[in-house]
C-alpha cells in the first residue's frame, strides 16, 4: 500500500506532463514537449486575481479539492496483483463518489468568484455532469458483474480470459463520455467553455489557474487509469511487467480521450441533455442488461 502510494505520487507529475503534451499535439502551437512546462512556469509567476466579495475558502481550496479527488480516484487502481494504494472492498463505489464530488467541486469553483460567467458555467456543468455520472455508474456495474465483487482488484482478475471491453462493447465509449465530462474537455466542457470566456476559470489567474489546470490533467490521468483497469485489463498482459502494461493502456486511453475531446463539437446544453437522457442512458441500461444476461449462467 505505501509502495503503491509513493509510486503513484512520483508518477503523477510526469503523467500530468504527458497529458499536457497530448493536449498540445495537433493544435499547431509548437513546442510540444517543453511548452507545457514553460506555460506553467509563466502562469506561476503571475498574480492571483481578487474578485469582489467572493467565497474565500472555496475559491482558495477548489483546485486543491479537485486534485485531491483525482488522487483518491487514482488510488483505487491496482498497479500489480495485490499492489494497490487503497485496498477497499468497494473500490468502484469510491470511484463513483469521486465523480460525484468532482461535480460539486466544479460548481464551487464557478460559484465562489461571485461573477456571472463563472456561475453560468457552474450551473450548466451540474446539469450535464450529474446524468453523465449516472452513465458511468451503470457501465461500472457492468464491469463488476463478471467479477462478482465491487473491488477493483477482483474486476481486474475477472478479465484474465476476456477483457471487459469485449464483454460490453458499449462500456468503454460510454465511460469515455464521462471522462470528457469530469476532465472538462471537448463536447462536455460546459464549465470552462469558450462561449463563456473561460467559464469557471474566467476570473482566475496565476497559481490558482495553474493548479486548476494541473488538477484537470491529473483527473484525466486518474480517469484513464480507471478506464484501463475496468475495461482493458489493467496490469494484465503477456510479456512485459504489469505496471508497464498499465502505463501503456493508460496512455492509450488518455490519447483517445484527448482526441475525442477535439473531434466532437459541443452542443448547446439543452440538446446535450436530450442526448444524455434519451439516447445514452437507455443505451447504458441495455448494455447492463446484456452483460447481466451473458454472466447469468
Amino acid at each position: 500500500m505505501i509502495a503503491a502510494t509513493l509510486a503513484l505520487l512520483l508518477a503523477l507529475p510526469l503523467l500530468v506532463w504527458t497529458a499536457a503534451i497530448f493536449d498540445r499535439i495537433g493544435t499547431g502551437r509548437g513546442a510540444t514537449v517543453l511548452g507545457p512546462l514553460r506555460s506553467g512556469a509563466a502562469l506561476l509567476l503571475r498574480p492571483n486575481t481578487p474578485t469582489e466579495a467572493p467565497d474565500r475558502l472555496n475559491r482558495l481550496l477548489a483546485p486543491g479539492w479537485y486534485l485531491a479527488l483525482a488522487l483518491v480516484g487514482l488510488s483505487v487502481v491496482p498497479l500489480a496483483p495485490g499492489i494497490v494504494a487503497s485496498d477497499l472492498s468497494t473500490g468502484l463505489v469510491l470511484w463513483g463518489a469521486c465523480e460525484a464530488l468532482t461535480v460539486v467541486v466544479v460548481f464551487l469553483h464557478g460559484w465562489s468568484p461571485n461573477a456571472p460567467l463563472p456561475l453560468i458555467g457552474a450551473y450548466r456543468y451540474v446539469a450535464i455532469g450529474l446524468p453523465a455520472m449516472l452513465l458511468s455508474m451503470f457501465v461500472l456495474i457492468g464491469a463488476a458483474l463478471p467479477a462478482q465483487s465491487l473491488s477493483v482488484l477482483a474486476v481486474v482478475e475477472a478479465q484474465r480470459d476476456l477483457w471487459n471491453v469485449v464483454r460490453q462493447p458499449l462500456g468503454l465509449p460510454l465511460f469515455m463520455a464521462l471522462g470528457l465530462a469530469i476532465t472538462l474537455r471537448g463536447p462536455f466542457d460546459y464549465a470552462d467553455g469558450a462561449e463563456l470566456a473561460g467559464g469557471t476559470s474566467a476570473e482566475e489567474s496565476g497559481p490558482a489557474l495553474a493548479m486548476w489546470q494541473f488538477a484537470r490533467a491529473a483527473m484525466l490521468v486518474a480517469f484513464s487509469g480507471m478506464a484501463a483497469t475496468a475495461f482493458l485489463g489493467g496490469h494484465l498482459g503477456p510479456v512485459l511487467p504489469g505496471p508497464l502494461w498499465l502505463l501503456l493502456k493508460t496512455l492509450a486511453v488518455m490519447a483517445a480521450t484527448v482526441a475525442a475531446g477535439r473531434f466532437f463539437a459541443r452542443m448547446p446544453p439543452a440538446r446535450m441533455l436530450t442526448l444524455l437522457w434519451v439516447v445514452l442512458l437507455p443505451l447504458s441500461f441495455a448494455n447492463l442488461a446484456l452483460v447481466g444476461v451473458t454472466v447469468l449462467p
Binding site: A53, P54, D55, L88, S89, T90, V93, L94, G96, A97, A100, L101, V103, V104, F107, L108, W111, N114, L119, Y123, V126, L130, M133, S149, L150
Partner: protein
C-alpha cells in the same frame, strides 16, 4: 486509532451540522450539510459497512448539489452570496434542538446497546448483497418502485406537454358540449402567482 477517527468524524459532523444554521447563504448551508453527511458516511466505513458509507457520500454529494442548485434558482439571492438571514423562529428551534439532543443522549446512554464486533476479513459486501436480495427484498423493491413512480410523476407534472395541450397555455380539457365551457375544475383566480415574501428578516 479507530476511536480517534470516530471522535474526529463525529466532531466534524456535529460542527458542520451546527454551521448549516449559522452560515448566511443557502449554497453554503447545503454544502455544510453535505460535509456533515460525509462525516457520517466515513463513520459507517469505520463500522465495517464500507458500501453503505461510501454510497452515502456519493448520494449526498449529488443530492446536496441539486439542492444547492435549486436554492440558487429560486431564492431571491442569486448565487447565494448576498448575506442574508437563513433561519426562522430561532428561539423555538434552538429549544427544540436542545431538547431533542438531550433526549437522544439519554436514550443512547441509558439503553443497552449491542456489542458485536464484525470478525476480521468478513465479506460484508457479500452479506449485504444477500440481505438485500433475501430477507429485505420486499422493502427495497417497494422503495424502488415508489421512487420510480415519484420520478415519473415529477416528470409528468413538470413537462411542457400537458394532457390537453401545452401546460403553459393552460392545458384545459375540451367542453362537454361542442364549443361549450371547458370541462373540469377551474383553478382559483391568480392560482399560479405566489410571491413568497420573507418579510421582516
Amino acid at each position: 486509532m479507530t476511536n480517534v477517527l470516530f471522535l474526529a468524524f463525529s466532531a466534524l459532523a456535529i460542527w458542520s451540522g451546527w454551521r448549516v444554521f449559522r452560515v448566511d447563504s443557502m449554497v453554503r448551508a447545503s454544502f455544510q450539510l453535505m460535509v456533515s453527511f460525509i462525516a457520517v458516511g466515513l463513520i459507517a466505513v469505520l463500522l465495517a459497512a464500507p458500501y453503505i458509507g461510501i454510497a452515502t457520500i456519493f448520494m449526498m454529494a449529488v443530492e446536496m448539489m441539486v439542492m444547492a442548485l435549486f436554492m440558487v434558482m429560486f431564492m431571491m439571492n442569486p448565487a447565494g452570496l448576498n448575506p442574508m438571514m437563513m433561519v426562522h423562529q430561532h428561539r423555538f428551534s434552538i429549544a427544540a434542538g436542545i431538547v431533542a439532543f438531550g433526549g437522544l443522549v439519554l436514550a443512547v446512554l441509558l439503553s443497552d446497546l449491542p456489542s458485536q464486533p464484525v470478525p476480521e476479513g468478513a465479506d460484508v459486501v457479500r452479506a449485504l448483497g444477500h440481505e438485500l436480495l433475501g430477507p429485505s427484498m420486499l422493502i427495497f423493491e417497494t422503495a424502488g418502485v415508489t421512487l420510480l413512480a415519484t420520478m415519473i410523476g415529477a416528470v409528468v407534472l413538470s413537462a411542457r406537454s400537458g394532457r390537453y395541450g401545452d401546460s403553459d397555455a393552460g392545458s384545459v380539457p375540451p367542453g362537454l358540449t361542442p364549443g361549450g365551457e371547458p370541462a373540469g375544475r377551474k383553478p382559483e383566480n391568480g392560482g399560479g402567482h405566489h410571491h413568497h415574501h420573507h418579510g421582516g428578516h
